[in-house]
Symmetry: C2
Subunit: 152 residues, 2 copies
DNA sequence: ATTTAGTCTACTAAACTAATAGACAATGCT
DNA sequence: AGCATTGTCTATTAGTTTAGTAGACTAAAT
């Protein structure tokens, strides 16, 4: 399950992507526009900044803005920063691999084999989708149809 | 992330599948074989029984056994019983749909559009894979190669 | 210097996870 | 009938995670 934190983070990112190139946006503005508790949002944006996904400016005229163009920021990256690895088991994570203590032979663990498929499918979607893609998909949905109706 | 509970549950299911048709297996045997705390395993098996995935017999010669042949028990079903919905967001779950309170228009929520893809990909894998498939995959892995090397 | 706006550390209530404990109920055997 | 065996059910708990809140601090602009 995606946490509230990731959900808030993704919402904030879409706001910042829409406003990309127009200078910094205030935390409070994002919080108000998306109905996110302001203090909580501060922590979230800070984490994203420490990862280089966002940049910020202090003082008057300050605020947050994207560290890269929206078509270069991957949804998977945002979620990994805020929620941790995408993998359903640490032993199938590529970015945060950890052996299972109890596991006798990792290569022949049935659960692992299946969960690796799940992790790969999830990562494929989330790492191929950028924030720009997400906005585009919303645009298409607003026009009454989803991209998938065409691309399949 | 899969919980310990689901992991234990899946391990127990593979033991019971291997022994399918050979009469009931003791909770304690499963616990010992897989290194699962016995009392915890009781609760897990009970939940699976209440869903009809397992059956049990009390008294001497009793124990647990599969409610259906291993090729008719889907991994997705087991995980849903023990961990809840597969979907990363309640609003994209098919088996446990719940609207997001804050969501203005569900059809044009970018996060939802992407997360629906993730849920569909995950559900496709876990609902198409049976316990028998999982055992088969392990067999193939033991023989030094994975089914995927052939089927793709 | 003052105001504006992000930064950093600490704290907390509620929920969830991973168990543990123990009384109870059904079944098979002698 | 009585006893051992094995699953059932309810309660409790320590530890962790989640979703915030509070407040002092720091940098930039005017």
């Amino acid at each position: 399950m995606l946490t509230q934190k990731s959900k808030y983070g993704l919402k904030a990112m879409t706001v910042l992507a829409k406003e990309y190139g127009q200078g910094p946006i205030l935390i409070s503005d994002i919080a108000r526009r998306e109905g996110i508790p302001r203090k909580f949002l501060e922590l979230i944006l800070l984490e994203l900044k420490n990862e280089g996904i966002l940049q910020s400016k202090k003082g008057k005229g300050g605020g947050y803005f994207l560290g890269h163009p929206p078509n270069q920021i991957r949804v998977g990256h945002i979620i990994r920063v805020l929620d941790g690895p995408l993998a359903p088991l640490p032993c199938v994570s590529k970015t945060a691999y950890m052996r299972c203590r109890e596991c006798r032979d990792e290569r022949t663990c049935g659960i692992r084999i299946i969960m690796k498929e799940v992790r790969d499918a999830t990562a494929k979607i989330l790492d191929e989708t950028t924030v720009a893609d997400m906005l585009r998909r919303v645009e298409l949905a607003v026009n009454g149809r989803d991209a998938l109706s065409f691309s399949i």
